[in-house]
Amino acid sequence: MNPWQLEPTDQFTIDKAWYLKKHPRELEAVLNNLIRYVSQLKQSKNAFCVQAGYLHPEPRGVVALDQKGGGPALQETRLYVYPDEGKRILYLITIGNKKSQSDDIKLTSRFVGSLKISH
């Protein structure tokens, strides 16, 4: 089985720049959970079976990774990813907080929809 590859979106790159400036510790925390998630993903027979306290399943197979484990007093932050089982690509879609959560989920659903059309 091919190993998983990571691919950021252009939106992720924009969000990353904002978080680097405003909330670098939150960015570090979600990226640490990305390391955890990928290590579990590699061992899992099915991406959708991966279960952990920092993971939140969202519609259309999207998974939100939060900032838990990154230290005290961090703002609620979510890194939205989509594991494409067929291509073995983990898309890093966007990063957001509680205020942007609703828009983020809509954005991630549209992203997965566009991937499925282009397949």
């Binding site: 924009i14 952990a52 898309y91």
Partner: protein
């Protein structure tokens, strides 16, 4: 000041792909952030391994909690796997090892240098081989297998030495060189896998 990310666009794949998270950090993050993430990852290395081993075994956090002695809730397992290594207990690690039938080892202190590591492995090999040699007295058939295994091990060790010497530059080489000529009798593994596993239990 607005504390929320800027208005978002429709996300599109960037086309930049990375084989590992570390490559992704190098390619996409400033050095200080990548270092911060690595520091956090170092503090959670063991909990990350435990979670990955559980997933590999196909167990949910709930099942894992039920199998532990004393039993734990799914929430406790979730907290344990999402926490820092320093919050783990030896009992937690022992239970993961027992339930998942995995050997879990860890060490404190500075890493061994290459020479120290090789000496440590050599001593360990010597001890195992002495144990095998003692086993060889118990059963004639087993003795033959062990003798064949020693031949195979001898050949493999010389091959490794020869390969490594071949990777050195000419000016570092002394007049003495290893040259491995594969004997026909040793070209295939001579010990059956199941037999070898029995030896090393």
């Amino acid at each position: 000041m607005e504390d929320t990310p800027l208005k978002k666009i429709d996300a599109k794949p960037s086309g930049r792909r990375y084989a590992t998270v570390d490559e992704f950090l190098k390619g996409e993050m400033p050095v200080d952030i990548a270092d911060g993430v690595r520091k956090l990852a170092d503090e959670t290395r063991l909990t990350r391994i435990l979670a990955a081993l559980r997933v590999k075994a196909g167990f949910t956090q709930e099942t894992m909690g039920e199998k532990m002695v004393p039993s734990r809730t799914q929430g406790t397992i979730s907290k344990l796997e999402s926490g820092l290594d320093e919050d783990l207990t030896l009992s937690d690690i022992r239970e993961y090892s027992r339930i998942l039938n995995e050997r879990i080892g860890f060490a404190f202190g500075p890493s061994l240098n290459h020479v120290e590591a090789i000496k440590g492995h050599a001593l360990s090999m010597k001890n195992h081989m002495i144990a095998l040699a003692k086993l060889a007295h118990l059963d004639e058939e087993m003795g033959k297998d062990i003798q064949a295994f020693f031949g195979e091990a001898f050949f493999n060790i010389l091959t490794i030495l020869g390969t490594c010497q071949g990777q050195m530059s000419e000016k570092n080489l002394s007049d003495f060189k290893f040259e491995i000529v594969e004997p026909a009798a040793l070209s295939k593994p001579t010990v059956k896998r199941e037999t070898r596993e029995t030896f090393f239990v």
